[in-house]
């Protein structure tokens, strides 16, 4: 099995030089190295440049509405708990339009890997601020510079109770691949926020900037300490890269559903025993 297994020959609609290509490469390698099988794998995305990613793998996918990848993914999990589910989308999609789903999906803890291409900008709509855009950056809308406090996805996910929270970078292939692999193998909600340069619209957070502003999280960091993880998450310039927080053994959304108590058989394979209707109606007599 090699990269060709997931690679697909197609016109990729990203700009030349974009960090998205790096992430795609890392994903292809990570999936192959994990030996994922296409018939047990599904991608979900929203809308944006990053959200086109599933089109560029040879996989099943649901490319839905802007901001709505997570509820779709949760619905898929609810219907078929054994599908490996990867959500891949952009920062605007996930933390902006999709913010409410982000915080509440974490609370549910479905077994989903969420890969966010964080270019700190709205790429597809041509350069407006995203929730992660840093203060002061000027855009066609934020003509005087961004005023809002940037959203810190790592800190937010940890606070909400996500069981695996990490940061990667498109430019740091090896480290990021390992993080993604760990995220995919993690049972429960796993966030990997990936720094990615948008060469067309983000002239602040460039490939160079990312390279210079990243520091690898030391192995000594206690990954199961929420407060320490948060404290690390708040540190900026340099921005830590690696796994901030990881706890295991938490029940997933799908495992807490009574329908999967005895079997993980997907719902579409099941047939209702219609006697239940008779029974209910008898109660109503």
């Amino acid at each position: 099995m090699d990269r060709k297994y997931f690679d697909i020959a197609t016109d990729i609609a990203w700009c030349p030089g974009c960090g998205n290509f790096g992430i795609r490469n890392i994903m292809l390698d990570a999936m192959v190295e994990l030996g994922l099988s296409k018939d047990k794998l599904c991608f979900v995305s929203g809308i944006g440049q990053a959200a086109k990613a599933p089109h560029y793998y040879d996989v099943s996918y649901f490319n839905g509405l802007h901001g709505r990848a997570l509820p779709v993914a949760s619905g898929i999990k609810a219907a078929n708990p054994d599908i490996k589910l990867i959500v891949e989308s952009g920062d605007g999609d996930m933390y902006g339009e999709g913010g409410n789903h982000f915080i509440h999906t974490i609370r549910r803890n479905p077994d989903i890997t969420v890969i966010v291409h964080n270019n700190m900008v709205y790429g597809l709509t041509k350069g407006q601020a995203s929730p992660t855009t840093q203060k002061g950056m000027k855009t066609p809308i934020q003509t005087e510079g961004v005023n809002s406090i940037p959203l810190n996805p790592v800190a937010l996910a940890i606070t909400m109770g996500a069981t695996f929270v990490a940061r990667g970078a498109a430019g740091d292939k090896e480290k990021t691949k390992e993080i993604i692999k760990a995220a995919i193998m993690h049972k429960g909600f796993a966030l990997v926020d990936i720094f990615q340069a948008c060469v067309s619209f983000n002239k602040v957070n460039t490939h160079k900037w990312y390279k210079e502003n990243i520091v690898i999280i030391p192995d000594t960091h206690p990954k199961d300490d929420k407060v320490k993880a948060l404290s690390l998450a708040f540190s900026e310039s340099p921005w830590p890269l690696g796994i901030f927080y990881e706890v295991n053994g938490f029940k997933t959304f799908e495992d807490s559903l009574p329908v999967y108590e005895h079997s993980h058989e997907p719902l579409y394979k099941r047939t209702r025993n219609m006697d239940i209707l008779r029974e209910i109606m008898n109660q109503k007599k």
């Binding site: 809308i47 490319n63 509405l65 779709v72 619905g75 219907a79 078929n80 209910i280 109606m281």
Partner: protein, 563 residues
Amino acid sequence: MNNTITDLTIMLAGEAGAGVQSTEAILTSAMKKAGYNVFATKEYMSRVRGGTNSTTIRISENRICNQWGAPDIFIPFDLAAYTRYKPELLEKSIVIADTKIVKASNIFHLGFNDTSLSIGNIIYASMVVAGSIAGLTGVDLEVLKSYIAKQFETKDKKIIADNIKAAEVGYEEGKKIAEQAGLKIEIKNNDYVKDDILVSGSESIALGALAGGCDAVFSYPMTPGTGVFTTLANWAKKAGVVVEQVEDEIGVINMAIGAWYAGARAIVSTSGGGFALMTEGLSLSGMTETPVVIHLAQRPGPATGLPTRTEQGDLNLALYAGHGVFARAIFAPGNLEQGYELTKYAFDVADKYQSPVIVLTDQYFTDSYYNTPGFKIYSPPEKYIVEAKEEYKRYDLKEGSLSPRSVPGFGVGRVCVDSDEHDESGRITEELNGIVLKMKNKRFGKFALLKDIALVPDLYGSDDYEILFVCWGSALTTALEAVKKIGDKVSLLHFKQVYPIAQTALNYFQKAKKIVMIENNQAYQFKNLIEHELGIKIPSTILKYNGLQFISDELYRKMKEVI
């Protein structure tokens, strides 16, 4: 005064939480067990305690499924209730109340507060009232007693005994009042009633969902859509249904679509405001050709409106919600059986036509209940899902508008679904004059397919009518009793599917000399639709829009006026 009543209407009213609801529950269950036909409908304020709510119970020897007229007996639990509903009474209506609380003339005293306190707890008041009605109507006391024994069988013996005592005292009081009032109630009971089921509109929808193979329900609570959600949640473990309360209605519809994409049959239940938030998701269902079933229980808008009241005011939204062009089907059940059958059918239509399907009800429909024969039990529904071979294409054009639908994980093929315009394999395309047009035409073709199978409206009454009353959805039962009373040459046409409209419906209109549309909204939304779809004019309407359902005799009077 001496009036023999064979069809009795009782109204109970009081603060939320004061016992109206428990009295209603005891009464209707016991009466049904005793073989009486019962119907109950409620109207209540948007608050948990206090205010003034009422429930109206009708008891009859014949099958009933609606309220005919003003109550024969009115039991206000407090003065506010008396004041609020007094104007609706007839001269012959009798009022029974605890006159220590409701100080007004012409009231028969029932000391349910003192009585229940003397038994030991104010909560027995409901039982006293229930007992009194049994006494008034001459129902066998033993029936009530055995119902109580059964109902509380898991409880302490003392509790059972106290309840029975309360019922007995009430019973005696009731008999006395009947005598004083010269009231003769003679309602025959029927054996068939005992085999009937006593279910609400919400329950009929929930049962229909189970029959339709529903295996997931996603919702965000919103009155009056919550009933279906709660009912399904209640049966979920037994029936193997996934239940998830989602963070908001946008999440709800997307989660349901995700579940359908993965092969589950999911329903969502909501009301106008929540449905409004699902608008974009509806369009996603249309574009991706992923089925979804939506139960939309209407209440008066705009915005938060009257959250616990009824209206048929969201038809336009149901018809046109969603940007862009895509097909849908909308069913609007008129009685419990239709609630069951149409919801079941909604799942099949959604699945087969890979389209959103809406079951459109309202607060009146969901909250009302009556005894009805058990619903037909079908075998498990057909599955329309195919296995994906290696070269599977989700939007294959070979079979016209309906490409075989697979789900991820079923077979080796990839199931690629896209909310952008896409090619056969589900990948984004901008081939404007090629595949784009083909896909647009493919989806547009579903309008015709759904029209082909549109359910023909039901004609009630003789074929040989001159005047045709027309209604849709929950208005059926109310309108039907009124139309029956009006007499010859008058029939009722009821639409249980409101979109698409079956073309053959036109025949019914062409035969009529006069057509009158009955709607529970201010803007005659269905009249507009019918006029346009069938190219006719409906010059006359009877509208109501104060948040309450029509009552049959009120409608009867309005019908008389217009014909």
